[in-house]
């Protein structure tokens, strides 16, 4: 489902003496449907950078990133937007929302965008929020004022609302208590069993061992310091 081949990435800092920082070279990665693969490596090794390139958030300097049959590395913006709508989900570490939009709508949005009915979307959003222990009295409020852990759980609910065939998870269990962490791991297991291809970053070793089938160490893609 996700096939990364020979991908490289440099950051060029034009305003700091045009310094060119090579961060990834020759990255190879495959994630099949129904499989969960973990990205590992020390902080700064390029785990999030690689994940962001797969999502199209960072521009790859070279190589091919196939998600389904779309090459994210060379696709037009509208092709990437279409891909994100119905194929590729991403749970980032931070929730970014429009002010004033109620939590329930934030979670239901991916379903509405993919043509589900308002009732269906709402029912699914309610079920997920309840499962992730977000109190019902908060559902009609905007998540901007929520605590860090609550925002993280809203973000997860949103990421799992629609059944994406491919899912990227950046530290989904960070800042969660044991009960919520188990819920998230259960959601990941369910997504795997319905056939989703999942790529995740987990600093929580126990969580990683519980849900991931394989590990890919990104530090082997780090270019030699020149």
């Amino acid at each position: 489902m996700i096939n990364v081949s020979n991908v490289s990435k440099n950051f060029t800092l034009h305003n700091q003496g045009s310094a060119v920082i090579p961060v990834i070279a020759g990255a190879e990665l495959n994630v099949a449907s129904g499989e969960c693969v973990a990205l590992t490596g020390a902080s700064g090794a390029g785990k999030s950078t690689l994940m962001r390139m797969i999502y199209g958030n960072y521009l790859a300097a070279g190589g091919q990133i196939l998600v389904g049959d779309v090459d994210v590395a060379s696709a037009e913006p509208r092709e990437i937007l279409a891909l994100r709508k119905d194929t590729l989900g991403y749970v980032s570490q931070f929730l970014r929302v429009v002010p004033r939009v109620p939590t329930i709508d934030v979670v239901a949005e991916p379903l509405l965008l993919t043509g589900h009915s308002r009732e269906e979307a709402r029912a699914r959003a309610e079920a997920l929020l309840a499962r992730l222990n977000i109190p019902e009295r908060l559902w009609s409020l905007s998540p901007t004022t929520f605590s860090g852990g609550e925002q993280q759980r809203v973000n997860i609910a949103r990421g799992f609302a629609y059944d994406y065939p491919a899912l990227l998870l950046d530290e989904p269990t960070a800042s969660l208590d044991a009960a919520n962490r188990d819920t998230v791991l259960a959601l990941i297991e369910e997504a795997k069993s319905r056939g989703a291809a999942i790529l995740g970053i987990f600093h929580d070793i126990a969580a990683r061992q519980q849900v991931c089938d394989r590990e890919v160490d990104v530090s082997v893609f780090t270019p030699e310091a020149a």
Binding site: N15, R52, G56, N57, Y58, P77, R78, V98, P99, R100
Partner: protein, 256 residues
């Protein structure tokens, strides 16, 4: 898929000075494109050239018309272009008073646009006006007030209602949230986003506010000195800018 708007090599010079030059892009139905850059970068000149307010020196602006498919709007007859700007196009000005008739009631401002496309039944026009004012959160008891009695944020929302009532397919916006305080901005952005989604509108939004484009635009065009220096998916351009000027622009935003 046919683009809704196809722009080729637009250039506008003010004497020896470049207003904007070498601008080409395609906008597809349902897409929202942001144009960002500092003051004087040519973004408003470009918008005015596209919307037919300013004649460009070179270039073509093709619009997918309902009747005849892609037509160059720059070579259209004046009545045809005027009809287009009343029906399928809308233009939201930075200063609401440039887009409103200040001596006419709020309901009249919305109704006037409907009458321009042939609506004649007073009851229907008034009902449509009330409906649209409701959508932009102006209550029915303010329908007969003039825009001079409205706050800046309300005037801006009224301008949006006036523009969208005829169900346009393409909306040009010039700094739609400029000059409004942040809480009013947030409300307006939320409103615009909802309307764009619901109506499947395409839009070109000119702004210098990067937070505005992050929320509203699918893709981004960055301009400097009249030229396009970078284009791409909005979050990609903002999170991983490639051009030196874009990097400077993104890193200059103050964190709250």
């Amino acid at each position: 898929m046919t683009p809704l708007l196809s722009v080729r090599d637009i250039a506008k010079f003010y004497g020896q000075r470049i207003g904007c030059t070498d601008v080409s892009f395609d906008l597809y139905p349902g897409e929202v494109m942001g144009v960002v850059g500092e003051s004087g970068s040519g973004k408003s000149t470009l918008l005015n050239c596209l919307a037919g307010h300013l004649p460009p020196d070179t270039g073509e602006v093709f619009f997918d018309t309902r009747e005849a498919g892609l037509r160059d709007t720059l070579t259209m007859s004046e009545p045809e272009r005027r009809m287009l700007s009343r029906t399928d196009w809308a233009f939201v000005h930075q200063h609401a008073r440039d887009g409103l008739r200040m001596g006419v009631s709020a309901g009249g401002n919305v109704g006037e646009r409907l009458m321009a496309v042939g609506a004649r039944h007073y009851g229907d026009i008034r009902a449509a006006a009330v409906d649209w004012l409701g959508r932009v959160e102006i209550t029915e008891d303010r329908v007969d007030d003039r825009p001079t009695a409205f706050s800046g944020g309300m005037q801006q929302r009224l301008q949006i209602a006036r523009n969208l009532v005829t169900g346009p397919r393409l909306v040009f916006m010039d700094e739609p949230t400029g000059g409004l305080d942040v809480s009013v901005q947030a409300r307006l952005l939320d409103l615009l986003r909802g309307l764009v989604r619901e109506m499947g509108l395409s839009a070109i939004i000119v702004t210098h506010d990067l937070a505005v484009v992050r929320l509203l635009a699918d893709r981004l065009m960055v301009m400097k000195d009249g030229r396009v220096v970078e284009t791409g998916l909005t979050d990609q351009v903002l999170d991983d800018p490639q051009h030196g000027y874009t990097q400077l622009l993104v890193s200059s935003v103050l964190q709250v």
